[in-house]
């Protein structure tokens, strides 16, 4: 198994990924709920369901397959509600920051999950409702030379 190589391009900070449209299907939500909320005490779409749709495949970032640690995760719900079954959402992500501490690179990726307006699906429409903002921080162990930019 190869570890791959960590690469990032400072010029790509903030550059949004191509939007991807997802359907929050009832079976998908139910399977996720069964995994994280087997007592079914919360909402049909659990608060962490957006992780099912977020992406770390963002412009300017290549993560290795080994030596990556999920350090923190954040969800914000500006619309004041979780995702809902049967809604269509659009996801874009971008590299927010990369900091280096010794042999660790601390990488932050942000995703915006918006209510997709159907006809505009696949287009990064600025007028769509932001449902969830996710912020994912991973720590990457760098080789001695400090990684590749």
């Amino acid at each position: 198994m190869t570890a791959g190589e960590f690469r990032w391009d400072p010029q790509c900070l903030g550059q949004r990924s191509h939007p991807i449209v997802h359907q929050v299907t009832a079976p998908l939500a139910a399977a996720f709920r069964a995994a994280v909320d087997p007592g079914a005490v919360g909402s049909p779409c659990p608060p962490t369901l957006p992780v099912r749709f977020q992406t770390l495949d963002v412009p300017g970032l290549t993560l290795p397959t080994a030596g990556v640690i999920h350090a923190s995760q954040e969800f914000r719900f500006p619309a004041g509600r979780p995702l809902q079954q049967n809604e269509q959402v659009r996801v874009v992500g971008w590299l927010e920051s990369v900091r280096q501490r010794g042999r660790l690179a601390i990488v932050v990726v942000v995703n915006h999950i918006t209510a997709s307006s159907g006809a505009a699906a696949g287009v990064d429409g600025a007028d769509d409702l932001l449902l969830v903002e996710t912020r994912t921080t991973v720590m990457v162990t760098l080789p001695d030379e400090g990684g590749t930019q």
Partner: protein, 143 residues
Amino acid sequence: MTGRREPHRPRPGEVLPGQELTLTREDLRRYAEASGDHNPIHLDDAVAREFGLADGVIAHGMLVMGRLAAYVQWALEGSDPTAFRVRFRSPVRPGVPLVLSGRVVSADGDRVVVEVAAAPKAGGGPAVTGEWTGSWGAVARER
């Protein structure tokens, strides 16, 4: 976990009832299927050891976060988050009993902020800590 309870409006400083959780390998497999995260360090002992995890597979951090969310929603029946963030401080292995806990930091009208943690029952520092900011406005729309 038990069934529905009356909505509980907590007070600042209140400690929420704790809840024990022991994840199984089947829990990890189910989460992998549901989340699409099939990283073998969560599913295959040999691969986990290859990546330096001497005791074998570890739970998905996001599985623990998801269980913490369900815990808060159980303890504060009817609260959905407006924000939820966690730090993954140490790995969680299947079969190791955890205690999920929460303490109310602030409560004002429909808004509540709760510090949460998942810590080994045997002691030691928490594996996951975080903060839940919730309200009671959202849940009723879908239930």
